[in-house]
Assembly symmetry: C2
Homo-oligomer: 240 residues x 2
């Protein structure tokens, strides 16, 4: 059985200008790996309707799931929901159930649900809401696209709401070994190992520590016995 695939779209000029360092991609990658869903591609795009819509169309037809991060707040630069609606040719308007969630939240805070905040209840036709236990304004899923907030605490809460509802695959298992030799010395035997275990992904990540060269070798796969067997051979290779 092949695991489901996923892609992510990180939306926001502040990421591309280097003002903000994205942390949502790394978080989602770890959660999807645990769930047995293979994150296959990530695109980071600016707050530009054409760029967002193009990425949504391309990735939603190429992968089982798409997650977006960012652009669903109350300000003028929050254009994600409208772009998603256009990408799927759906109408978008304030929806009663989303408005009710906001009303309860802002009533409790004694804050006015003004026109700007009400924009956060704009939901494309046919979408399913994603719960936001942090700040009420919901995300939503439409077809295979899951639209999440960019603020990391809210993004993470929404990931916790939506990922358990998806059909996962076998979790990707991994084992790793630190080898204190230059990558150039281990490359030959490592290539042979990769050749003998075609179902496993064997990666080599070089490092330099206290002047010595080394590499972290990571063996990943879905079959525990295979991962074990490859790791046993790997340890013997570099133990001598």
């Amino acid at each position: 059985m092949t695991n489901p695939t996923a892609a992510m779209i990180v939306i926001g000029d502040e990421i591309l200008s280097g003002r903000t360092r994205d942390s949502n991609m790394h978080y989602l990658a770890q959660e999807l790996t645990k769930a047995g869903i293979n994150l296959a591609e990530v695109r980071m795009v600016s707050d530009d309707p054409g760029a967002i819509e193009g990425a949504v169309r391309a990735l939603s037809s190429a992968f089982d799931h798409v997650f977006t991060s960012g652009g669903i707040g109350p300000t003028h630069d929050d254009i994600t929901a409208d772009c998603i609606a256009r990408a799927f040719d759906r109408a978008i308007d304030v929806r009663d159930d989303a408005r009710a969630l906001l009303q309860v939240h802002y009533d409790r805070m004694g804050t006015d649900l003004n026109a700007a905040r009400l924009r956060m209840a704009r939901i494309p036709e046919g979408a399913v809401l994603i719960e936001n236990p942090v700040s009420a304004a919901p995300g939503f899923s439409i077809e295979n696209v899951h639209v999440l907030a960019g603020v990391p605490a809210v993004f993470q809460a929404m990931v916790a709401s939506v990922v358990p509802t998806l059909v996962g695959g076998k979790p990707l298992l991994s084992q790793s070994l630190r080898v204190f030799r230059g990558e150039g010395d281990i490359a030959g035997p490592l290539g042979a190992l990769a050749h003998d275990f075609p179902d496993l992904s064997i990666g080599s990540y070089p490092f330099q520590k206290d002047g010595a060269y080394g590499a972290q070798i990571v063996i990943r796969g879905q079959d525990a016995a295979q991962v074990d067997a490859a790791m046993t051979r790997l340890s013997r290779m570099f133990d001598a």
Copy 2:
């Protein structure tokens, strides 16, 4: 004058699986912003020839520059140089000048320049080498694609080698203001400000601190007088 545009391709299963957190994207974003080159899109793809070649073709025809990170070491999973050659229909082989750089480096270390290490001298036909002062193995530029190492120290050194050789634009200026009100309260006036300064990008980034809601408002643009004018109006708006 419009600034040159750029895209980046981050290559590596270890990023997409969540094992490693990429730091090269954030670094490059900051360096390009300083140089007046607009980073417009980033794609993170796996160690898969089709994915790498597809991203190279799509982005090199859409943007002025493309930077890649990762996959140019000596091991079997380092396939970037071959993928770049295929994307541009160029031959690839060990090149004498690249081999000479490696020979000097490994001679000095007393290390054998074996077949695996020699793979790092494989350079697509017609490429220009990018200096690597950290570990000798060069990157290269071919057409508008700059192929850099994934190890952050080496990536950063190569960025320092190549970015100053590119024609930059006006640096993007930015000023920011922290406003201690909920985004929903500032959204209206902020939208009006953005409308009055169409050449500026005005972003709002919400935060929560000690239970209070606020937003960091960032005004970006190439014209210092306009940025100043917008910031003056912004300060007056939320000073009352």
